[in-house]
């Protein structure tokens, strides 16, 4: 029963995070979602994964999202409010005519574009996305009919190589935790590759966010 409640809470969190207009709220809800996910994984006895999700998923991902938000803007879909702000600014500071004319032109172009999409695009687009999502979901549900039941000990995933690792990993590596044994010993090179992925991602972020030196 508790498992069902947790899973239900996950779905509620996910929908709330997607529907929330305020991006800061959406990110906080996503953090709650990750933490509930960690609890679900603890319930499924995946303790190492739960730790990682609680620290990396709920922690670092939230921090990254918040950092990105602090460098951009908080609201979603606030185009109208933004142009209004700009208009007020223009009125208040009395910028020179050239600037205002250019701003008005840009604004007109922008509103022209947004009304155009609103008339033809937006609703049709989200309706089409909804259809795509429902069809994909239905196909996936159809696929689960053949899946072994949840917790089935005779599921193919649990029969082939897994028992061998459970029997031998302590003898082979001396690690009492089978997950650690596989991660750090049997698949050590793969974990090295994983750190390479993080390194590459770090370089990408630095290259993208590097400030151009003033000439």
């Amino acid at each position: 029963m508790i498992d069902f409640i947790l899973l239900f809470f996950l779905v509620v969190c996910a929908i709330a995070a997607v529907r929330m207009k305020d991006l800061l709220s959406a990110i906080i809800i996503l953090g709650a979602y990750s933490l509930v996910m960690a609890v679900v994984w603890t319930r499924m006895n995946a303790v190492d994964v739960a730790f990682t999700e609680a620290s990396v998923g709920a922690g670092i991902t939230s921090v990254l999202l918040l950092a990105a938000l602090s460098r951009t803007q908080r609201g979603e879909d606030d185009r109208r409010r933004r142009t209004e702000d700009r208009r007020h600014d223009a009125e208040d500071t009395r910028q020179d005519m050239e600037d205002r004319r250019r701003g008005a032109e840009e604004r007109r172009r922008k509103t022209e574009f947004s009304t155009r999409t609103k008339k033809t695009g937006i609703s049709a687009h989200s309706l089409l996305s909804l259809i795509v999502v429902i069809v994909t979901g239905a196909v996936l549900v159809y696929g689960t009919i053949d899946m072994p039941d949840y917790g089935d000990p005779d599921a193919p995933a649990n029969l082939h190589v897994a028992p061998r690792y459970i029997e031998r990993s302590y003898k082979d590596t001396g690690a009492e935790n089978f997950v650690t044994a596989v991660l750090a010993s049997y698949r050590g090179y793969d974990t090295l590759g994983e750190t390479t992925v993080i390194f590459t991602a770090g370089i990408c972020v630095i290259l993208l966010l590097r400030r151009k030196r003033e000439q």
Partner: protein, 125 residues
């Protein structure tokens, strides 16, 4: 029938989660919303893998002399790696969003598309 639902409803909840993320990725125009959707999508897949590893009455895959049956440790290892990779992709995606915001002053996909269209029409910047 009830047995069938009891054995499978977990998968359907994962699919629901995944589709919520998928919808956010394709229907929402805000780029940060898309990244949030991508995160939900990824964690739903992780959840699916972890649930496949669960064995009824199994204990956590750590050596214990009272254990009768262990859960399958291999999907756990796979997902440990995947979580770290997903954080890396999120970081790169967010860096791209920040760059796009610097360039266009917005994170709304349709506004950006309109601006690029305008740019092409007027020829360059």
């Amino acid at each position: 029938m009830i047995e069938f639902i009891a054995g499978k409803y977990n998968y359907w909840i994962y699919i629901t989660l995944m589709m919520v993320g998928f919808y956010a990725m394709i229907a929402r125009g805000n780029l940060i919303k898309k990244i949030i959707g991508m995160n939900i999508f990824q964690t739903a897949i992780f959840l699916f893998y972890i649930s496949v590893a669960k064995v009824k009455d199994g204990t956590a895959p750590i050596l214990w002399d009272k254990a009768v049956i262990y859960d399958n440790p291999l999907p756990h290892v796979l997902i440990l790696t995947a979580i770290v990779v997903s954080v890396s992709t999120t970081a790169v995606a967010l860096a791209l969003v920040i760059r796009i915001y610097k360039e266009y002053g917005t994170m709304e996909e349709d506004t950006i598309l309109g601006m690029t269209e305008n740019r092409e029409r007027t020829g360059g910047n």
